[in-house]
Symmetry: C2
Subunit: 349 residues, 2 copies
């Protein structure tokens, strides 16, 4: 923990280059309006001294921080028992880095933390926030909105539809096309000639789960209600649901599971019961978590979403809102952008 030598200041660079502080500042910040030879001299001085601007001093006057908060609520980190979290973060990180922004990570658990996050965001320590909050009843989005910080949500927040309140801030979010992906999956099953197609849902207080159910219903508006059974995005939930399904609808010949973990559970129960996949029952998941889809027996057909791209887009959208000279985001409406999904065919359907 040795103390480092005092770092060079603008003043020092100016002295060495034989110019004023202002000129050095100009060069450091782009160098417009400074004649070439001077620019050159300043650059050299900067290099020689190893000058790095003091961000605190800069923020103090510019009121910008070049930092963005990423807020992840506790339940998410649980859900993210898969590469989801890491990938999204990676996308965000790449985009932020490309625009010289730092990523401040805020993990929350429990109500107290919400207050803390609210205070932090309201405290003006960051220029904006990227927020993950899948649950309908999550107080976080409200808090954050009130904090008055530019925000982009990951996943459609529960109240973004039909809310349209007049407090100014449009809700900006990035989501993947859960509904469309679900439709593709179910259509694929129908295309396979299946007639008794079941759906194991996710927790319906999450918009992603609700949207996938909607997609299922789009294709199967008249589905036997017993073919729609609740799950919870876990393998155990998938097992439970599948058992119930086999009990009440033994003639089921296809299952669209709300996610891959659920599908994995269902697969296990099907094998237990001697049903062949996909011959007797075809199965499709959602997410394409490789750790799961490639390891199941048989390998799982599923709906893939481009997680990393979601992260990248969130960051881009936010930065755009922050009025940086950032490339326009194609397909972005005022309220958000929905990324397409693709069906990945493996052996299970």
């Amino acid at each position: 923990m040795t103390e480092t030598a005092p770092r060079p200041t603008l003043e020092a660079v100016a002295a060495r280059a034989g110019v004023s502080r202002a000129t050095v500042s100009r060069v450091v910040n782009g160098g417009d309006g400074v004649r070439d030879p001077l620019v050159e001299r300043v650059r050299r001085a900067v290099d020689e001294l190893g000058y790095v601007p003091n961000q605190a001093a800069r923020s103090l006057v510019t009121k910008r921080h070049d930092a963005v908060a990423v807020v992840v609520a506790e339940p998410e980190t649980r859900v993210f028992a898969d590469p989801f979290f890491a990938l999204q973060l990676r996308g965000i990180s790449k985009e932020l880095t490309a625009h010289d922004n730092q990523l401040v990570l805020l993990l929350t658990e429990g109500r107290d933390d919400h207050a803390r996050v609210g205070r932090y965001l309201a405290g003006g320590h960051v220029d904006g926030a990227l927020v993950f909050s899948l649950h309908l009843d999550d107080p976080l989005p409200g808090l954050i909105r009130r904090a008055g910080v530019p925000t982009v949500f990951g996943g459609r927040p529960g109240w973004s539809d039909g809310d349209g309140d007049s407090d100014g801030g449009d809700v900006v979010y990035v989501d993947s096309d859960n509904r469309g992906g679900a439709r593709d999956a179910v259509r694929h099953l129908v295309g396979l000639g299946r007639t008794r197609v079941a759906h194991i849902t996710g927790p319906l207080d999450q918009t992603s789960a609700a949207d996938r159910l909607d997609g299922f219903r789009d294709v199967m508006p008249d589905a036997d209600p017993r073919l729609v059974v609740p799950g919870d995005f876990t393998p155990a939930g998938g097992e439970r649901a599948m058992r119930g399904l086999l009990d009440h609808c033994p003639d089921v010949d296809a299952v669209f599971a709300a996610n891959d973990l659920t599908a994995a559970g269902a697969l296990r129960v099907l094998r237990e019961h001697g049903r062949r996949v996909p011959e007797d029952v075809a199965v499709i998941g959602f997410d394409d978590m490789l750790a799961v889809t490639e390891q199941t027996d048989p390998p799982l057909t599923t709906v893939r979403q481009d997680i990393e791209e979601m992260g990248r887009l969130m960051a881009r959208l936010l930065l755009r809102g922050l009025d940086r000279r950032t490339a326009e985001v194609p397909g972005a409406t005022r309220s958000g952008v929905v990324l397409p999904t693709t069906l990945v065919r493996r052996a299970s359907a």
Copy 2:
């Protein structure tokens, strides 16, 4: 993106409370040496105005940031296709939050990024760094050391042993007891009466993999060399290794796999070949990634490490080094702390 009203300053609070800036500052920072009635008045003013200190201004003079960087190298995020990353981060986050520090996340990929991270750390934007870097040849640790930022490593860096160079900074790290855990696993197999115990290693340029191999050798110093086969921490690697093992040592009766994914691959090949687990071949993994260990057939016996605690300890160690009034870390040597592992018995061994 509405502009928020200008936030109140110390000055404003002082005016409202009828005291000087200095007094408000004192109260905000603990209130020592200020008489009670005044403290009360200041507190009220702070509340009424919703005053939040401007961190930038504060940092500018204190030269502290109450922020810590977490540096994760690209290969890690790949490895972290499991809750590892999220859990560790959670532990870190909790500890930092408890001490009012922010977490700045730095994800790197490729050489350019190394330079960027080096610059950032050297730039004095954070008080310290937590670094994950498992590979022996990673240039990151060196860069970071040179940046002169207090650092704690996650996982023993390759060069921490026998290096003992004189550049001042002792290498502080937190790791789990890979070697001891491996010993426990292998001893368990031996205790089961197995005599032909194989080991599928991880990539040996990672200290965790090397340590696990060492642990294996501790118990089986005279193992048939053909029983030690290379893997790469992936299921595919596990499959490949297991196939080779069955080819060359068909009498193998136990496998200690370097991690759970590897074990999952091995398990699949064993089933393919009609070997019963654990009757014919007992299998043990490492990590206890629940998504894997509870899903394999049969459920995997494995060595568990307390990931979240690792993260928490890293943060605590760093904060301690930063000379905050932080609780002492029991069992921490100057160079780091090694957390115990526990054998979790399931059905596979």
